[in-house]
């Protein structure tokens, strides 16, 4: 017994939390809609007009039917008047429906645009800690797929939720005005369809879950076997792969059939309930008509009301899941928008105008995860124009140094100074413009070669760009591209080799002529001759500039003024090549190994 209670406890809590979150999200959605308050009011107004006129029409139709009792007893004057009135009502209903849709469209797409803008603006202000901690695919899907899904839900919610509820209420009023008892029949039977739908949905969801599980396993297998077809074929594993595929495929078929069949029971069942309502109205209505308390027109009006009344009920479960879905999606985007920003540096106290290029690290402590100290009490003093090489085995945290110096991350304790000024007192823009940076992952923008080279300096002339490209050995291959400097680099620069991309990144920095440099040498996938070109370009770039290099080559290391030796995220030794060899520690070991 106790155990059961314990189990229920956290689950209940979670449910509460979800509800709270949804409320918060809904409030936030409303705050976005508030910018379009006028439009929203208009939309509601048009919706109301639309519903009222649309519901008035069956009544007029009923009245019209009543003018034609039997042979020779048709009241043409009244009929004409009613038909004219119907024409007007139809016109109003059509127009208001269209205007409502237009308002809803506008609100939805504007809100979506605003959310995307805010989210993107947020991306520029989020600390890298956040961005590094979330996979790119996840963030992209929040900003694109989730926002899209939200838009669909919002549009549907707007158009159907409000009109649906209004239709139900007004139909009820109209029906009550005609006949209380028949109304009761409708009101009592209709919700049945709702329950039937919910009942089936509950049963089906288990099947759907099994189906998606099987689908997941199968996709994994496809991914593995087709994605690595070269190995599969080299080892002649095709037959076995097919066998395994067949097994899971049969399972998937079984679950899929059940899920599809059970879920497709919803429509016929609700339709059945509707038909029962229809029959009920027909019978009771006919009795009242025989008694004389209801006209035939009234009955026909009732019949179409019965149809109209059940429709929102059938749709409502769909609308609710859609809305809930939309809220969940919106919640995921808002998580991003509400994430904590980097500290504001709008009122930076100090500024560097003319850079000397000295860098000091004083008693720096840093860790990515609170309980796992990485860098502790690091001291380093770099004079102007010196080269600092950072070495160590792969994954030892060399990039952490770049993160700290560029202030992508803030130190936990101690301070980092440029020209004796604490970098936290500078604006990030001022700090970062001191450095030129070339990373191992060569990132290029979607655009022409020229646009990419001018990335840091938009006002550069074509001549300046070409000069920089020549200095960095990029000019000769750019010339040979189909359209030279105006060649469009495709996403991920597929039309360029890794080495060429690296050269472009170097040229980009050459154009800037920054006072200081941060370089991450490429490790592999570049052949040794291109590598030599890159080295020579790096060499030219570093002349007279304070440089930090994540080094993979011995030549770079030997020429460095200071070598930081890192291991498991810590700086274990520092000094120059000779002094480190003399120390006979980790560096010497590394050196001897190769």
């Amino acid at each position: 017994m106790r155990r059961k209670k314990d189990l229920a406890g956290p689950a209940g809590q979670e449910k509460n939390n979800i509800k709270k979150r949804q409320k918060k999200t809904a409030a936030k959605v409303l705050s976005y809609i508030r910018h379009y308050f006028f439009l929203a009011v208009l939309s509601l107004l048009f919706a109301a007009v639309n519903v009222v006129t649309a519901l008035y029409l069956p009544m007029l139709t009923g009245d019209a039917v009543d003018t034609m009792l039997k042979k020779g007893a048709v009241d043409f004057i009244l009929l004409k008047e009613l038909l004219v009135r119907m024409g007007i009502v139809i016109g109003i209903a059509g127009a208001s429906g269209w205007l409502m849709s237009i308002c809803n469209n506008r609100i939805t797409y504007c809100v979506v645009r605003d959310i995307r803008r805010d989210a993107f603006g947020k991306l520029q202000k989020l600390p890298l800690k956040y961005l590094d901690g979330h996979p790119v695919g996840d963030l992209v899907s929040r900003m694109i797929a989730d926002v899209d899904q939200f838009a669909d839900g919002l549009l549907m919610g707007f158009t159907q939720a409000f009109t649906g509820v209004l239709t139900i209420l007004l139909t009820l009023v109209f029906m009550l005005r005609i006949n209380v008892w028949i109304t009761l029949v409708v009101v009592l039977v209709t919700p049945l369809s709702f329950f039937v739908a919910a009942f089936i949905a509950g049963r089906t969801s288990r099947m759907f879950q099994k189906q998606s599980e099987a689908r997941g396993i199968q996709t994994d297998l496809i991914d593995e076997m087709i994605g690595n077809q070269q190995t599969v074929q080299a080892y002649g594993y095709e037959g076995k792969a097919l066998e395994r595929f067949g097994e899971i495929n049969d399972k998937l078929e079984k679950y899929s059939l059940k899920a599809t069949f059970f879920s497709s029971l919803v429509n016929p069942s609700t339709r059945f309930v509707n038909n029962i309502v229809y029959a009920g109205v027909g019978i009771t209505g006919a009795f009242f008509a025989i008694n004389g308390s209801l006209t035939v027109g009234g009955l026909s009006c009732f019949l179409s009301y019965a149809n109209q009344y059940t429709k929102p009920f059938n749709e409502i479960s769909g609308v609710i899941t859609e809305l809930q879905n939309a809220l969940t999606c919106a919640g995921r985007v808002f998580d991003l928008i509400d994430a904590e920003e980097e500290t504001d540096d709008g009122h930076a106290k100090e500024r560097i105008e003319k850079t000397e290029g000295t860098v000091q690290l004083e008693h720096v402590d840093f860790s990515y995860v609170p309980d796992q100290p990485l860098i502790q009490d690091l001291n380093l003093s770099v004079e102007s124009g010196k080269r600092v090489a950072i070495v160590g085995p792969t994954g030892c945290g060399k990039t952490t140094m770049i993160n700290l110096i560029m202030r992508f991350y803030d130190v936990n304790a101690g301070r980092i100074c440029i020209d004796r000024k604490d970098i936290r007192k500078l604006s990030r823009k001022n700090l970062r413009s001191q450095y030129g940076m070339v990373l191992q992952e060569t990132w290029l923008k979607d655009g022409t070669v020229l646009e990419n080279l001018m990335f840091g300096k938009e006002d550069a002339t074509r001549e300046e760009v070409m000069e920089a490209a020549k200095l960095s050995h990029a000019h000769s291959f750019i010339k040979r591209l189909p359209k030279g400097y105006d060649t469009v680099i495709r996403e991920n620069g597929e039309n360029l080799s890794q080495g060429q991309r690296q050269l472009l990144c170097i040229a980009r920095v050459f154009l800037l002529k920054p006072p200081m440099l941060i370089l991450d040498e490429a490790t592999s996938s570049i052949d040794t001759r291109t590598e030599m070109k890159i080295q020579s370009a790096f060499g030219r770039l570093m002349e007279g500039r304070t440089s930090f290099i994540v080094a993979h080559r011995l030549s770079t290391i030997q020429n460095a003024d200071i070598i930081l030796v890192m291991k498991d995220g810590k700086i274990v030794e520092q000094g120059n090549h000779e002094s480190l060899l003399k120390q006979d520690g980790f560096y010497a070991e590394l050196y001897r190994k190769i």
Binding site: M68, G87, I226, Q229, S264, E458, D527
Partner: protein, 615 residues
């Protein structure tokens, strides 16, 4: 249902019974739906008009009965539709997987693996729901629309003409708007993709963007793109928002006409009040079904597009001629007999040639490249050109050159991942194109640049190399590939679990297991495609030593960017831009090949003889 489904039709044909019964029951349901207004008219004209309560109850009972039969028909129809759709999808997926497995890399490169995976998953799913939907609605909706029209004709000719006009007008509006808005929706989807791409780009380049202080410009650019997207969405939204109001107006305009003409008919006594009510009902049924039909058509169109894409995969056939495999590509055709015949013939020819090759020479020639060139499909220039090479049994061949010089291309011709576009490659005196693919590949053990491991235990992965390998053989291979040390340390040893893609192993460990897998096979030809660069020097050297001790003396191809890995090879090929610049031993090449010397020196400069790089 369109030309494109033709090829896939046969998978659906197996569910002929379901495909006929499903729509049939749907049709029955529609018939009952169409009967409802008739019964209602009876209630009014017979029951109410004659004040006959019994009659009312009787017809009311008919209504309930109709509803119940309708439910049964509909459920039956749904079952058959679901069965046909899911069964069709399963058959299709299986055939698709089987077919893709036979494709050679020329086709795989052309299409791309991610595309193939999408075809097999989401496209098939979409097609499944398309088939399901089509079986359920495609007959029903038109049937009700025209059924209602025909019912109208049975009541009154002139009023039925109003129906005809309304149906035509409604169709024009519904399908017209659909025709206009579909391409527009596609366009907005394209714009959305563009926005997606900028988002991704911004995220992957966040460090560079911040280092260059370009955040404001990026934001500005993004704003522009979202506004563009919004405008496109609003435009198409405005057009498709016309559908509902327009159809509403058309149907109700028809209603006004119907009532006006109906008034005259009643006055003349040719129609009764209840029949007018029935006609009104039919009119509203038409609207509902037309909208459903439009939606079905949208979905079907999507599914047809998926079907076309899937059909596209089937139309790819392996460019490799292989006698044993040729008949695999399509299922359901019994060709086992032919297949067997082909294999026997092959075996016969192969034996003959092998024999003659064997008796001719004392040290057998294992492998010959004869003017072999390979130009990838769609490429302007060949990736490797005019390779001539004779490899004796037991020889070690080194291949060196920069990225893109054609090293991997050269060796990919041996297991026929790609066929030489010019010239020939011979293994055991026989052209590889004449070998049975499976038998040829059994002779070869290949270790790729990036070792690919599969979900499962280490043992299962090693068994890929040779299904019948004993425990001792596996351990031996692991020891040789320097992997035994870390495998041994694992709690479960050989039965340790490897996650998909070997995520729970380091790069070096994966590489060593990849080598072990090739060794378990005891291949006649062992190929290392730049696969030892992920190993440190000590391991690399130990591996090299170990390979010399192999009892079965395989031919070894060693592709590398480091001269240190190939310096002991019997022959070294120096490649640049797809050309074989020189062939010789390390010493010979150092003396006469400028390029080889350059490569060698670039790796040994500054730091004496024994160092290269840290990575």
């Amino acid at each position: 249902m369109g030309e494109s489904l033709k090829g896939l039709w046969k998978y659906l044909r197996e569910y002929k019974k379901e495909c006929v019964l499903g729509p049939l029951f749907k049709l029955l349901e529609a018939v009952f739906d169409l009967t409802v207004p008739v019964v209602t008219a009876m209630i009014i004209d017979k029951g109410i008009a004659h004040r006959d309560k019994e009659m009312v109850l009787c017809y009311g009972g008919v209504l309930v009965l109709l509803a119940a039969i309708g439910l049964l028909c509909s459920i039956t129809a749904q079952y058959f539709a679901a069965k046909a759709a899911t069964g069709f999808a399963a058959k299709l997926r299986y055939a698709l997987f089987k077919h893709v497995e036979t494709l050679s890399f020329t086709e795989m490169d052309e299409v791309g693996t991610s595309t193939l995976i999408t075809r097999m998953t989401s496209d098939v799913n979409q097609l499944q729901s398309g088939v399901n939907m089509a079986l359920r609605l495609f007959l029903r909706s038109p049937f009700i629309v025209f059924g209602a029209m025909i019912m109208a004709f049975t009541y009154d000719f002139e009023i039925a003409l109003i129906f005809v006009a309304a149906i035509i007008l409604l169709s024009v509006v519904v399908f017209g708007i659909m025709a206009v808005s579909t391409p527009l929706y596609k366009k907005t989807q394209g714009i959305l993709d563009h926005v997606l791409q900028s988002t991704r780009e911004n995220l992957t380049g966040v460090r560079v963007i911040r280092a260059f202080c370009r955040e404001p410009e990026e934001e500005e650019e993004y704003r522009g793109k979202t506004v563009f997207l919004m405008k496109a969405q609003m435009f198409v939204g405005r057009i498709s928002a016309l559908t509902n109001p327009l159809t509403y107006v058309i149907v109700n305009a028809a209603l006004i006409l119907l009532l006006w003409r109906g008034g005259f008919r009643i006055q003349a006594g040719t129609l009764k009040q209840g029949e007018i009510v029935a006609l009104v009902n039919y009119l509203s049924q038409i609207l509902v079904e037309l909208v459903k039909l439009a939606n079905t058509i949208v979905l079907t169109n999507k599914s047809l597009a998926c079907a076309e894409r899937i059909e596209g995969v089937f139309s790819l056939t392996s460019s490799l001629e292989d006698h044993s495999r040729k008949n695999h590509s399509r299922p359901g055709e019994k060709t086992d007999f032919q297949k067997d015949e082909g294999e026997k013939k092959n075996a016969f020819v192969s034996g003959e040639k092998q024999q003659s090759a064997g008796t001719e020479k004392s040290v057998k020639t294992k492998l010959v490249f004869e003017h072999a060139s390979l130009c990838y499909k769609g490429a302007l220039e060949p990736s490797i050109q005019n390779v001539n090479l004779e490899v004796k049994e037991g020889q070690v061949i080194g291949i060196i050159g920069g990225t893109g010089s054609g090293k991997s291309t050269l060796i990919s011709m041996i297991p026929r991942f790609y066929d030489a576009t010019e010239g020939n490659v011979f293994v055991d005196g026989r052209n590889v194109k004449e070998w049975d693919l499976e038998k040829l590949r059994k002779k070869i053990g290949i270790v790729m640049q990036k070792a690919v491991l599969f979900k499962g235990s280490i043992r299962e992965n090693l068994l890929w190399g040779n299904e019948d390998a004993t425990e001792e053989e596996m351990v031996e291979a692991l020891k040789l590939s320097q992997a035994w040390e870390f495998v041994q340390k694992k709690e479960k040893g050989l039965d340790s679990f490897i996650e998909q893609g070997g995520r729970n192993l380091s790069g070096g460990q994966k590489q060593r297991l990849g080598i072990a897998r090739a060794l378990v096979r005891k291949p006649e030809i062992l190929i290392f495609d730049d696969s030892t660069s992920a190993l440190d020097y000590v391991t690399d050297a130990k591996l090299e030593q170990g390979l010399k001790t192999l009892s079965y003396h395989p031919v070894i191809f060693m592709v590398s960017q480091r001269t240190s890995s190939i310096r002991h090879a019997d022959q070294i090929l120096v490649l640049e831009d797809g050309q074989v610049l020189d062939v010789g031993t390390h010493g010979e090449l150092l003396e006469r090949s400028k390029e080889y010397r350059e490569i060698h020196e670039s790796q040994y400069k500054n730091v004496g003889e024994e160092a290269a790089d840290f990575a």
